[in-house]
């Protein structure tokens, strides 16, 4: 399963072609083409409202596109139901984290890890903690909170739990929508490390606004603007692109908040 990502020339895992999404006449996505190779760690940035979340919504079956196709490992995803897409190996987190508040942290993780089991085996009681869950607990640092109800977590802790659930799912493609929003600097760093570790074994797409985070962890960045792909390139190329600076980074592109001088 662990296909170690080769260069950009490696075989594509996700191929998006001519994707458009229309909401009441408003084109949230407009002819997007995007290819992500197996093993790649791809960053997706763009102004608020550019369509980043919408793109993830389409990949994961939450939103139907007006036109276009999304192929994952050769199979078409458009038209499939959400859980089928997950079962094919595509996992995601949400911009506003949603966890099961009445279940404990472990139970949340365990459910995420169990979907491949046959249904009848779910009828047995969970005994102990499976490897996948243990790993997710460890990497997210939620071990201490393992038996607290997820409803009692703070904003940031929920975000960790969401990432943990995604890891426990062991997907082939991970889609992370603003994973570090609302986290403190140290936690961002930890998430970044975690991300690097995950990216060694998986294909990951991350949406993020934090340029500092981006600079540390990104290699290839795709910039979305008004539903279209504005450009694709390295962090430096992107940061120095005048158009990106205009629509996204703003006048003072250099002293990005959060950077320590």
């Amino acid at each position: 399963m662990s296909v170690n990502g080769g260069g950009p020339a490696a075989e594509p895992l996700l191929e998006i072609r001519d994707l458009s999404v229309v909401f009441d006449g408003f084109r949230a996505l407009d002819g997007v083409d995007l290819t992500v190779a197996k093993g790649e760690l791809r960053f997706l940035i763009g102004p608020n409202g550019a369509g980043k979340t919408t793109l993830v919504d389409v990949i994961t079956g939450l939103t139907r596109p007006a036109t276009g196709s999304v192929r994952f490992a050769g199979a078409e995803l458009v038209g499939r139901r959400e859980h089928e897409i997950v079962r094919m190996g595509v996992g995601r987190t949400f911009q506003t984290s949603v966890v099961f508040e009445e279940l404990t942290v472990v139970e949340n993780l365990d459910l995420a890890a169990s979907f491949r089991r046959p249904l009848w085996s779910l009828l047995r009681r969970r005994k102990g903690v499976s490897d996948a869950v243990a790993r997710a607990l460890e990497v997210t640092g939620l071990t201490d909170l393992a038996d607290s109800a997820a409803g009692t977590l703070s904003h940031g802790q929920r975000q960790w739990l969401e990432i943990g659930m995604l890891i426990a799912q062991e997907p082939r493609l991970l889609l992370l929508d603003e994973p570090v929003a609302g986290m403190s600097k140290e936690e961002r760093a930890r998430t970044g490390e975690l991300l690097t570790r995950i990216a060694e074994e998986h294909t990951v797409i991350v949406i993020e606004h934090d340029m500092d985070f981006l600079r540390r962890h990104a290699s290839v960045v795709t910039v979305l603007h008004e539903g279209k792909v504005l450009m694709e390139g390295s962090v430096d190329q992107v940061r120095n692109d005048p158009k990106v600076r205009e629509v996204y980074l703003g006048r003072a592109a250099q002293p990005v908040p959060g950077e320590v001088g």
């Binding site: 994961t60 139901r81 959400e82 859980h83 997950v86 079962r87 996992g91 995601r92 949400f94 949603v98 966890v99 099961f100 508040e101 009445e102 279940l103 139970e107 949340n108 365990d110 459910l111 995420a112 169990s114 979907f115 491949r116 089991r117 249904l119 779910l122 009828l123 047995r124 009681r125 969970r126 109800a149 409803g151 659930m165 799912q169």
Partner: protein, 383 residues
Amino acid sequence: MTVTLKTVPERPVQRRRPAALARVTEAARSGPGLFVVVALLLLAVAPVALEPFRLNLLAKYLCYAIVALGIGLAWGRGGMLTLGQGVFFGIGGYSMGMYLKLNDAGGELPDFMVWSGVETLPALWAPFRSPAFALAAAVVLPVAIATVLGLLVFRRRVRGAYFAILTQALAAALVILLVGQQGLTGGTNGLTNFFELFGQDLAADGTQRGLYFVVAITLGVLFLFAWQLARSRFGRLLVAVRDAEDRVRFLGYDPAVVKTITFAVAAGMAGIAGALFVPVVGIISPALLGVVPSLEFVVMVAVGGRYALGGAVLGAVLMNYAKTAFSEEFAGGWLYLQGALFILVMTLAPGGVAGLLASARDAVARWRRARPGWAAREAKEAA
């Protein structure tokens, strides 16, 4: 920031319950000891202590308890408020009733068909000559109908109040249908006047006592089944579906399947209950399965405590006992009492009686822990 009111159906419904309620859910996980005590009471004490009339009433309550158990799963765990359990209860009951009628009629036409002007046995009735078929139908039909209905509505993401009202309409429709097809179903009268069951005289005290044991044991077995289900991963999944159905899809499960299975289990339980009810009570009629009785089933669960499976059973017995007792004491006032009791439970103790018991137990535990020396003892025990 939590949003406490989520009425927009497409948003994930994440209710944040008072902490006490969450604890009740926990309480449901304990209690094999209690189970044994209750089982002993029901199987050893009640048959000796109660005269046949009362024992028969208890058997009836236990039949309702089986329905309540199913609702406890579907509603308490799965968040599916089904206001149409009467439908499944009725199907089970009619299956059994049809067999009993045919058996009594000895292959001839049942009495009500004669006076309804039916001349040949309708094809629908023919297979119910076989007791095996009737018993199977009492379970399989409700399960099948619930499965089809569940897949239809849950796949289309009909839920919450929509589902509740839809099932209520289903109960209303079934009653109208049953009442309207008098020659086939006995109309409003329903099926009654049964004489024997498997060669035994139904009226005999011995038969009724035997039936009581069958009902009590069935309830016990189904309770253990439901308990296991609730404790299993499936049970956790069910709670997850209840609280954030849309999120569950992104864990790779189809919530429609999870809900349908649970709904079908609840329907099967109601069907079994209906089949047992008929020989115990001696009648099945549309009045037993319409909108009001279906609601009353839910009320039993709510009063007993929806978050604990035992609460459903407790509620069924308590409510029906109260109904019998009060209506014997002051007939007309029962409606006031039932209404008032219900309002009080819903406003002051949403966890029902089971919730109150759990809070009481918590309070006792807290009190004991607060006593000096407790911590030391606990530490010693842990070591």
